[in-house]
Symmetry: C2
Subunit: 146 residues, 2 copies
DNA sequence: TAAATTAATCAGAGTCTCTGACTAACGTCA
DNA sequence: TGACGTTAGTCAGAGACTCTGATTAATTTA
C-alpha cells in the first residue's frame, strides 16, 4: 500500500519528465547541453548579455557564469565580443548553433504538452495551468508584481 | 510584456518553493542536510537498507551512494551495521537524529501546503492535486502499475 | 569445487559551485 | 584633473557530487 505522494513530489514528477524530454530531444539533434549550461543559455539577450548580468539572472557567481560561458564558447554556442559602451565588459552572444536549439526544445515541449492534454482532457489541463499560474503568485520570488 | 511561462516552468516554481521551505526548516532546526544526502536518507528502510539498494533506488552509482553514506555517518544521521544474512553486505540504518528530521520536514510541508490552500481555495487545490495525480500516470517512470 | 556473480570499497577524474584575491577600466568629486 | 571608490571580469584554490574502472571478499551456481 504505497502512500500518497506529497504535493511537492507530485509537482516534481511531471516537471522532471518534461525536462528529460527536452534534453533528450536536444541530444537526439546532436546537442550535448548540460542543465547548468542551459540555465545560462536561456538568459542571454538577443543583443548579447554581460557576464555579470547572466550571473545575477541565473543566481550564480560571476566565476561560475564565466566557467559555463567558457564551455559554451568552446562548444560553439556563444561568442564573446567587446562591449562598445564599456571597455571592461564583454558581451556574450548566441551563435547560430545556439539559435538552432530553440525550435528543437520548443517542439519537444509542445509534443509533451500535447500528450498531457490528451491524457488529462482539456478541462483538467486548463485547471492545472490555472492553479499553477495562481500558485506562482505566492511561490515565484522573481515575479514582477504590478 | 513578459511571456507566459511554459507548463514545465510553472511546475518547477512551486516545487522549488516547497523544497526551499523544507530545507530552511531543517536548517533552522540545526540540521545541515544537502539535497543529495536527503535523496538517500529518504530511501533508507525502517530496518536498514543495503548500499546497493539505496544506490539503485536513488538512481546513482554505488560509489556515489557510498560517498553520501560516509557523510551521513560522519554527521550522525546513519550508522552501518553488518547484515546478518550476508557477510559481504552492511545495513545502513537511520539513527535517532535522522528520525528527528521527519516531523520537522513534514511540518514545513504541511505549513506550506496550508498557505497554498488558503491562496487557491479548496476547489482549485483539489483540482491541482487531481490533475497532478493523473499526470503522474504517464510521467512517473517508477509508478507501480496494477 | 571452480567459475560467475554480487556487495562494497579504492583510486582517479570531470562538472558545478563557491570564496578570496587580483587587474583593468570607469565614474565621481574635491 | 587626479585620487578614490566601484564595477567587470579573471585567476587560484577548494569542496560537493557524480561518474568509470579496478579490486577485494563473500555468495551462488554449474
Amino acid at each position: 500500500m504505497p502512500e500518497e505522494p506529497s504535493i511537492g513530489v507530485l509537482l516534481f514528477i511531471p516537471y522532471r519528465a518534461m525536462e528529460e524530454r527536452v534534453f533528450a530531444a536536444l541530444d537526439a539533434a546532436g546537442h550535448e547541453i548540460t542543465r547548468a549550461q542551459m540555465k545560462l543559455l536561456q538568459r542571454i539577450d538577443e543583443d548579447g548579455s554581460r557576464l555579470s548580468a547572466l550571473a545575477e539572472s541565473a543566481q550564480v557567481t560571476k566565476q561560475t557564469a564565466g566557467y559555463l560561458v567558457d564551455q559554451l564558447e568552446r562548444t560553439g554556442y556563444v561568442e564573446r565580443a567587446p562591449d562598445p559602451t564599456d571597455a571592461r565588459a564583454r558581451l556574450v552572444r548566441l551563435t547560430e548553433r545556439a539559435r538552432a536549439l530553440h525550435p528543437v526544445a520548443r517542439r519537444a515541449e509542445a509534443e509533451t504538452e500535447a500528450e498531457w492534454l490528451a491524457h488529462l482532457g482539456k478541462r483538467r489541463m486548463d485547471q492545472l495551468r490555472d492553479a499553477l499560474t495562481r500558485l506562482r503568485e505566492i511561490t515565484d520570488p522573481y515575479l514582477e508584481r504590478p
